[in-house]
Symmetry: C2
Subunit: 759 residues, 2 copies
């Protein structure tokens, strides 16, 4: 039993190396599941499992039977109607982002909701168009369907047939990209790839959505100013678009500009009021709806279209159009973009869904969400809709107006349906610039995220870098490619973070078992000849050289160089001995020569390899103390280090490259008689090394100790031992002098080196 004794930390136990501990405390034999075992579990089959999978594929089968009509239906209806109205407006506005006629936005707000109703696991998100996603689809559409820049300013005056066929092709491209991204989502869902969202960190999402907001802003400028902007392909497209706009800025339609500025101003102000008096207002003022109604009325009443030549929503096709078969040829050209759309769409929907799932405490299933979104997009795309995910604001409306289940979503789809089949024509006089202004009204929050940069810079440089790079990538390369580049860069930062670890030398503070960075405290104790080196990160191929460099810096010498110098010196001593020039005297080496000629400057490659071998003293009748003075002309750097402790408590893994490097380092130190101790590793770490055949006769598994303090005690004990042994055996041990008799010695000099004879 551990008993607390006052505020005291009192421990008395044997010093433990990993081996000694294993002897005292037998480890249980545990069966570790292999890859095959996991595969077996994964692939095993049972009726129950089949049933569970079937149920999880159709979540509606679980929640619909449990629907509490009396309690939930009313709030679902209220929520459904509000959401539906928002969905209509957003559908129209976001269709402009895709560069297709607004009416198609309604399809995007209708079809996906139907399938999600059956397949989705979230009860609160409102599936449908999302600005960033619409932008991404729009980028593909603009790339594949170049609009002729010579078209007249008012698109309604230009040849109608040509225009509508272009529009048709645009819709076709948008639908195809949507279907393809749906297929990708479906496949990912089936393959259980729902975990990919974890690779989108907060900093990345923040930088990405800010860039997306800039893209949206720029793309809406042409509607606000009512300019014809030719299509630009992805990388650098934003700059090209801006260039086009400013080069024809004098052609601006003032009526459109004024309308949108007024709308924008009103929307901003009312949204601010909504935000500030959140608590006092029963529901937020539906300013978008109000503005749309007013703007449509004004535009119709004063016949803006003909009077000011503004662009209006125009002919709303009443009812549905036949489904289309996606163009396989387009699949090939858009696979990269579709991948981006699939990922972003899922990431947004999933993150919004998880906010609500956490809030209302029900489970959502990432993989099922992928399947639901995938099917929704395939379905929606086939009926000429464009990529759906969820919009934060619309989901917010659905939830805050009391939506309890996807029944609300279904009802919102019915509202959209009514607009599609019956009252869509009412919106025909609405100016496109009004829709653009409404779309911009939502961007404030996203653009405010620029403030993140400063905050992140103060907190974490790497996160700040991720934000900035993501923003730059997404702006410059476009959203699809930019996202890929950002994710790659972000993963790279994880490597960077571990690649240049802040290695430090530790020493004892307070004379107990606490070891801290030597530079940080003043009253430190470091036993003589002992270095404690801490590496605070995993070691792998990219930082093993760095680790080695830091370790060499810390100990102050390169062990390999010392080894070579000693081996070279040994060669000379052997040669002297062979020639009979060396004699052992009890006091050490006595040499009567100063100018002993060294003819061995040139070593061939084989000889150099020999120098890297362990020092072999087996055939010498004496041992050499390398830190004492050696016979004349033989100079070996003296090192005071006898023990090196590597604190590996934060080294979470080694890879093969680093293992080989580490072994080499250990060997080099051991060959110059520096004892190496590795401490703080867990058992798995040692097991892994055993498995990789790390240990041999030179590097043994006895180098592992539980803690730094265990190793330090072991070192002190060993030193004590050897001193006392030396003292006790001194009587028996004879010390000999070497005398070098030289023929050509001009000067005589004596140097005494203590040598210990071997028995």
């Amino acid at each position: 039993m551990i008993e607390p004794i006052g505020n005291q930390y009192i421990v008395a136990r044997p010093v433990y190396s990993a081996n000694a501990f294993a002897e005292d405390h037998k480890k249980k034999l545990r069966y570790h599941k292999t890859f095959l075992d996991n595969l077996k579990v994964c692939c095993s089959c049972s009726t129950q499992k089949a049933k569970r999978i079937a149920l999880s594929l159709f979540p509606i089968a679980s929640w619909l039977p449990a629907y509490r009509i009396k309690e939930w239906l009313l709030s679902d209806i209220v929520s459904g109607i509000s959401t539906g109205l928002v969905a209509v407006l957003q559908g129209l506005a976001f269709a402009l982002l895709v560069s297709i006629p607004p009416s198609y936005g309604l399809y995007a707000a209708f079809f996906p909701v139907i399938t999600y109703f059956f397949l989705g696991t979230s009860k609160h998100i409102s599936v449908g168009p999302f600005p960033v996603l619409s932008m991404m689809v729009g980028a593909v559409v603009l790339r594949l369907v170049p609009t002729t820049s010579t078209m007249s300013l008012d698109i309604f005056n230009s040849s109608m047939s040509n225009d509508s066929s272009t529009d048709e092709y645009k819709v076709m491209v948008a639908a195809t990209v949507t279907v393809l991204s749906g297929i990708i989502q479906l496949v990912m869902g089936v393959l259980q790839f729902g975990f990919v969202v974890i690779y989108l960190s907060e900093s990345l999402i923040s930088g990405f959505t800010t860039a997306a907001a800039i893209h949206v802003l720029v793309s809406q400028l042409k509607f606000i100013l009512q300019l014809q902007v030719p299509a630009h392909t992805d990388p650098f497209s934003i700059f090209k678009v801006l260039n086009s706009i400013f080069s024809q800025i004098e052609k601006t339609n003032i009526a459109d500009l004024v309308t949108s500025l007024i709308i924008l101003l009103i929307v901003f102000v009312v949204k601010e009021i909504n935000q500030r008096y959140k608590a006092k207002l029963p529901v937020p003022i539906p300013i978008e709806l109000i503005m749309t109604v007013i703007a449509t009325g004004v535009s119709y009443g004063f016949d803006f279209k003909n009077r000011f030549n503004v662009a209006v929503v125009g002919k709303m096709q009443s009812g549905f159009q036949p489904p289309i078969t996606p163009d396989i040829q387009i699949f090939q050209d858009t696979i990269g973009d579709s991948f981006g759309i699939a990922i972003v769409g899922f990431a947004v929907a999933f993150s919004v869904a998880s906010v609500y799932s956490l809030k209302y405490d029900y489970p959502i299933d990432g993989n099922q969400e992928l399947i639901a979104l995938g099917v929704s997009n395939i379905f929606g795309g086939s009926f000429r809709g464009f990529a759906a995910s969820t919009s934060l604001s619309r989901s917010g409306v659905q939830e805050s107006t009391g939506g309890k289940t996807q029944i609300a979503g279904l009802l919102s789809a019915i509202i959209v349906l009514i607009v599609i089949v019956a009252i869509g024509f009412l919106l025909e006089p609405l100016q496109k610039s009004v829709l653009a202004a409404l779309a911009l009204g939502n961007l404030k929050g996203m653009l405010m995220q620029f403030a993140e940069i400063g905050r992140l810079w103060r907190k974490d440089k790497y996160d700040c870098l991720i934000w900035i790079m993501t923003f730059i990538f997404a702006i410059v390369l476009g959203l699809g490619l930019g996202l890929a580049a950002s994710v790659a860069f972000q993963l790279l930062t994880i490597v960077f973070r571990t690649q240049f670890p802040k290695c430090s030398i530790l020493a004892n503070v307070g004379r107990s078992n606490i070891y801290k960075n030597k530079k940080d405290y003043s009253d430190m104790y470091e036993p003589e000849g002992v270095k404690i080196f801490r590496c605070p990160s995993p070691i792998y191929f990219a930082n093993i050289q760095f680790f080695k460099q830091k370790l060499t810096d810390a100990v102050g010498f390169n062990p390999l160089r010392i080894l070579r110098k000693r081996n070279k010196a040994l060669k000379k001593i052997r040669k002297l001995q062979k020639k009979g020039l060396l004699q052992v005297t009890p006091k050490g080496f006595i040499c009567t020569i100063d100018g002993f000629k060294d003819s061995e400057d040139e070593l061939d490659s084989h000889q150099i390899e020999e120098l890297d071998q362990p020092i072999n003293l087996a055939d010498l009748p004496f041992q050499i103390d390398w830190n004492a003075d050696l016979p004349v002309n033989i100079v070996v750097p003296k090192i005071s280090l006898h023990s090196l402790i590597l604190d590996f408590s934060a080294v979470s893994f080694l890879d093969i490259s680093s293992m080989r490097g580490l072994k080499k380092i250990l060997q080099e130190f051991m060959r110059i008689k520096v004892d190496v101790y590795i401490v703080g590793t867990d058992d798995d770490f040692i097991e892994k090394l055993v498995q990789c055949e790390f240990f041999d006769d030179e590097v043994k598994d006895s180098i592992f100790f539980l803690t730094i303090h265990d190793a330090i005690l072991q070192i002190l004990m060993k030193k004590d031992d050897s001193t006392s042994k030396f003292n006790s055996s001194q009587g028996k041990d004879a010390k000999f002098d070497f005398t070098i008799n030289t023929n050509g010695g001009l000067r005589n000099r004596e140097c005494q080196v203590p040598v210990e004879t071997k028995f």
Copy 2:
């Protein structure tokens, strides 16, 4: 002083939280260099620095004046001649890999050596053609210059002019790619990007070179069988080439096939002999040279060219050709490949150079090497050579025959020069298939690397995966793109390794200060109500969810859910109290009601947010023991956990995302009165958290303790404290009973809950 007492680990010190320790041991104020400081040092200017930089730009200025003519010149001459002969043969053979006439290979073996002589820092590598690099250049050449597949079998019979212009264009492409990659290397060198090589791990290099060997093998097949193979662009090209070859296998030139098989056999056998009797042979048998001489003689003597219609080296242009200006248009098309060539070329040269620098103990400078190779490639490319690096075998020859400095390299270039200007015509009758066979003779070692797969699988699954994926990428995508994909994949594995850490629950072993995985040992002690959770890897955006999941699994409940249930229960208790239905009795709650109606099933979103707030008992006249039975119908899950220790000794960093996640987790636990302790972190870690405003009134920096044992002792002490306080204050403390008087209570039931009153 720490004194070893037998084999005993004896410690007595106060229990330390991080704060208590900081009070006892004052930290020194250290100035940490900021980014700006480092920039200042980097950009500072002085005469000395300028001189050092100038010297480092021309390493020859350091080593040439120190050249020991007497000792080194002879061996440099011997080495230079041997290397030169090998360079001639390799130049001819590797030119075939580039798909250009063999004579251009001689330029590649001549020009780069000259510039490297002045700029290089390695004394032993032999700069010049390298098979993998030649392959990579060849892939670009074949992509940009499609050979007409309708060409007649014997290229010398086809229209000469057409052919030579094609060849000229090929040479042009090869030279342009070489210059571009040289420019990339030069720029990287100037920007100090020499560190990039660390991203090429051993497993990656092994997999990559094996794939390169396969590419070389396949590309040489057409020379050995003497078939016309049309060009195929990069991804999947290897399969397309194989398809082409097998579809026309019946057109094989038997004479070429037989010659190359014989050569291949002899080369293999003699190389084996060289290897086996390495120690006994004074120099390895120069079998390539011998075979070339014999094959040339035989081909000339028996007029193979006309008799068997074999392809020969053919007209060797004597002397040099004028330099060419690279085609800027080609730059655009080959920037990706050039990048790959630049990196691979540098990586190979640098790794070979560092082997020798380590062996002979002299420094090499990665950035200077980049500059040297870059200039060499620009120079060589301008004179119609192709990309140069170093070949392992040729550098081996230069070193093993005694080369001491780049003087040997310069002499080898002179040998090549002699062949170019004088005796090149002698090689004209040599069969191309012989050159191909000689190139293949060097592949055995690389192909043997397949054995790595099994070895790596046993040691480290991730490394094995890197090997296999690199191999597949390089085979399928081609060498340039494949390398990029492999590096990306390899970096991803670093993320994978840390992403799913093996979290574990620790417990005390042996009743001292040792804590190990609870599952591993049998006689473990875990204080009641305490969990010790260890996360053995950094925590960041990609694994914070995983960490949370594992922690929830470990403690057995979701703290947020408990908090909500408690807050809900509290609401009910408050309501009861307000209605006067609740009275405090000394023995706890006494309730006389069973069917208390719960009308609060439906909560709106605002109310749900309230449930996540800390439990506020301030306005209640009593405290509630959540683990005791509560009044009827109020059920809250009981938890026994009162303290949670997080062992973060291996958590080397947190990012912003994970910090936010961690804080949320800590809050949730603290709000349900579970004390959280974080142990094992270093000081930097806490400083970082302070900097990121991690701490507030709820999550304080007093949760940090030095070790698990400190935290455990603190917990036991606290518990002791509260028990004794409770015992001593029991006399004063009054316990009250709550009595619920219900109006509609049907059944009476009593349940007593111990409550502690608040003062």
